[in-house]
């Protein structure tokens, strides 16, 4: 059954005053963000500036020290465990390290989220969905292979297929092209755009790869010292004469 988006405004994610400290290190210090329906938002920032921490707070893997995170109009921080799990069905997460389960085949990796979230699908529908997402990433022949038999680019695409298996409304990409050669990186960027086209997903993309930023971003937020430093579209960043902004686009 098609999932219906039910939230009061067009923002699927709204974050206000998000703070996350690790000891003395103020990783996020009053960060704000709005993600619209079907929008691709790129978060830029130096290594260790809290970009990955931000998306882990959104999915509930990390608890912020203060602030508000609303996803589809619901405060993520006040959800109980079951409600958070239900919310996670609607949020896909592509891990930087792919996070494929070593001890499982590609098929089992893709089945895992469906089985664990108790998605109401019969065997045939589940098989069809696995074939569909594998076909989308062009790796149908790998279905019975182990992750150790796949190349880096293939693992990234399988991880992307696993992210898509529950047909989420929002996808959080943690450096999707990091560590890939330019050709494979371009393939992943194309897949990200295809997914948005096909499934109408909104996305937050953490990336340092300017090709990825240029191709995917509807909106960019630059993080510095845990706060929003600059916000705008790609053209406004390219045209900026701010030396800090220029460093990223040289």
């Amino acid at each position: 059954m098609e999932q219906q988006l039910t939230y009061p405004n067009e923002n699927v994610i709204s974050i206000r005053g998000l703070k996350k400290y690790f000891g003395e290190n103020k990783v996020l210090d009053g960060f704000d963000l709005d993600l619209g329906k079907k929008e691709n938002l790129v978060v830029l920032g130096r290594s260790g500036s809290g970009k990955s921490v931000l998306i882990k707070c959104i999915i509930g893997l990390l608890a912020p020290d203060s602030g508000q995170i609303e996803v589809f109009g619901k405060d993520i921080l006040s959800l109980d465990h079951q409600a958070l799990d239900e919310m996670r069905i609607r949020i896909g997460f592509l891990f930087q390290s792919n996070a494929l389960y070593d001890s499982m085949t590609v098929r089992e990796n893709l089945e895992f989220p469906m089985r664990r979230h108790s998605i109401d699908l019969n065997e045939e529908d589940a098989r069809q969905r696995i074939e569909e997402v594998l076909d989308n990433v062009g790796l149908s022949h790998t279905i019975d292979m182990m992750p150790s038999e796949l190349s880096g680019g293939m693992m990234k695409r399988i991880a992307l297929a696993r992210t898509m298996i529950l047909k989420p409304d929002i996808i959080l990409y943690d450096e999707p092209t990091a560590g890939l050669d330019p050709v494979t990186g371009k393939e992943i960027i194309t897949l990200i755009m295809d997914i948005r086209q096909k499934y109408n997903t909104a996305a937050i993309i953490i990336s340092h790869d300017m090709k990825c930023v240029k191709a995917t971003a509807d909106k960019i937020i630059l993080l510095q010292n845990g706060k929003n430093y600059k916000e705008g579209n790609y053209a406004s960043f390219i045209g900026s004469d701010d030396p800090y902004v220029q460093q990223f686009f040289e």
Partner: protein, 256 residues
């Protein structure tokens, strides 16, 4: 008075392990129960450890008999060799040596596997996939080590006694029936029960320490290696400490 840094670290680590252990009891008896993964772990941990445990058990019984024979001969009690071998194997050497080998094989494996899963974000991926990773990874492994080690110890003891039988027959002739009759006459319920009880505790300790070390692995391959290594070292030390405590307790209850 301020505690030295190493003492602070020790107490901090002990506190963290205690909390991790307490969490096991919190999670283990509440649904959802991961029976399939538990069965898989029993197979991986129990069945796959069998050849190693059997081999070491056999050598243990054989060597123990061969080492004891000269001393027994000197005192003219060679005929008591089956008695002393069975008592040593069943009460102490069998459980402790098997548990140490188990810690080396299984404890390090759990530490490395969970450590690797931690640094490659597989544990986070599990949580995002609607799975309680503690229940799925830790509870199943600890339950499997707790239940499988006693089984392995019983098998190891049996094979060890067979090794002892061969050891006796290297320089003398004793029938299997006579050897086993002496073994059964020597062993009492009070010898077997405490030995079996402590193997449950050894198994629990090996699983818990391996999972704790893996679950709290530091980033990078060095962190995974360190987790595996420290899982073996710490669980071996804990095995000896548990052994010491169990001996004292069984002594109080008159089992010694």
């Amino acid at each position: 008075m301020q505690l030295p840094k190493s003492s602070k670290q020790f107490f901090s680590e002990a506190g963290a392990i205690s909390r991790f252990t307490a969490w096991f009891f919190h999670e283990a008896f509440r649904p959802r129960y991961e029976w399939k993964e538990f069965g898989r772990q029993c197979y991986e941990i129990g069945y796959k450890s069998l050849p190693l445990i059997a081999l070491t058990g056999f050598i243990m019984g054989l060597v123990l008999t061969m080492q004891l024979r000269p001393s027994m001969l000197e005192y003219g009690v060679e005929a008591k060799l089956p008695d002393i071998v069975s008592l040593s194997v069943v009460r102490e050497i069998g459980p402790v040596i098997t548990a140490l080998i188990f810690a080396g094989k299984v404890g390090s494996g759990i530490g490395a596997e969970l450590g690797s899963m931690k640094v490659t974000e597989q544990i986070d991926a599990m949580e995002v996939s609607g799975t309680n990773p503690y229940k799925y990874l830790v509870v199943t492994r600890v339950a499997a080590t707790t239940l499988m080690l006693p089984v392995l110890v019983v098998l190891s003891d049996a094979i060890s006694l067979y090794g002892g039988y061969l050891g006796v027959n290297i320089k003398a002739v004793t029938s299997w029936d006579l050897y086993m009759t002496q073994v059964y006459n020597t062993l009492q319920f009070s010898d077997v029960l405490p030995a079996i009880i402590k193997t449950f505790l050894f198994g629990f300790a090996v699983g818990m320490v391996g999972c704790y070390k893996g679950y709290h692995s530091k980033k990078g391959t060095e962190g995974v290696g360190r987790s595996a290594n420290s899982a073996v070292v710490l669980s071996s030390v804990i095995i000896f400490i548990i052994d010491l405590i169990v001996v004292q307790v069984t002594d109080i209850f008159g089992f010694n």
